[in-house]
Point group: C2
Chain length 141, copies 2
DNA sequence: CATGGACCCTGGAGCCACTACAGAGTCAAC
DNA sequence: GTTGACTCTGTAGTGGCTCCAGGGTCCATG
């Protein structure tokens, strides 16, 4: 329960979100524009803090800005059914699992590549496997 | 051993690299500019094909354009030592492993989130855990 | 020789989610 | 009133493409 409004720097410190990013979120309509001081400084209130924390957490979980926008819309209507949120999490989970699988394949390939060869590029497994995947030792490009 | 030069479409089909991307690679100096037909069409030769395949493979392995540039420079000098290549693979492997670890944590959190709650947003675990990480069931934003 | 359709050209804008910067103005403590 | 931290706006840049408009080229047909 913060009583006094705070500047953008305070909001940044309390959320770990970059100042530039906060202004960016306002620009794209993710964070509502706050009141301003006489000199034009942004003056945030507690609900901005809550909302930005929500956004931050969503971003940390890898949701896109658009998904977060949708989740915020949901969150604003406590009586609405939450299938939408469930759907979004499932979709995102699928995506993350696919990414992990892809990166794991990648990792295995990179592991095979490392522990380079002899001494010079001409015999280098790494360069070789880039030149012709599957077999090493090829002419350089 | 292709004898006739081929157009950008042919190069695209043989490598799986988008035509626009090929032109982009030329623009940023990754692929050398080929000869041109009288009408201005790009005419590629076998060495372009080899080089683009190298680039493609590097991208598939997740290397950045800059890394690929460096690897190509290495590949061009068969007598040079290949520690550089080894280093790059190790660095990249580290990065990939870090990414996998991050995504795995993410996946576990998303798994905890799914199988939404009751029926409405007010009791929704998903919205709740975005609102306040660690504990569910909070007021909406 | 004309035509049609597939192909290709250039230059520029757009994507995502920020991040960086210049040049100016504001605020609060001393 | 001065200092120094803070904030403002607007614009441009990042990576790695991707898409588009508005035109030109190529070559197999009729």
């Amino acid at each position: 329960m913060t009583l006094q409004p705070f500047n953008i720097g305070g909001l940044s410190r309390q959320t770990g979100v970059n100042i530039e990013t906060i202004r960016y979120y306002e620009k794209i309509g993710l964070l509502p524009p706050p009141a301003r001081s006489q000199g034009g400084f942004r003056q945030y209130e507690d609900h901005h803090l809550q909302r930005l924390r929500f956004i931050r957490r969503g971003r940390d979980l890898g949701f896109s800005i658009d998904s977060i926008r949708a989740l915020l819309t949901l969150a604003e209507r406590p009586d609405s059914p939450c299938e939408g949120a469930d759907q979004m999490v499932l979709l995102h989970l699928d995506e993350v699992e696919r990414k992990i699988a892809d990166l794991t394949l990648l990792r295995d390939e990179l592991r095979k590549m490392k522990n380079c060869c002899g001494q010079v590029v001409a015999q280098c497994q790494i360069i070789g496997s880039l030149t012709a995947p599957g077999s090493a030792q090829q002419d350089a490009i």
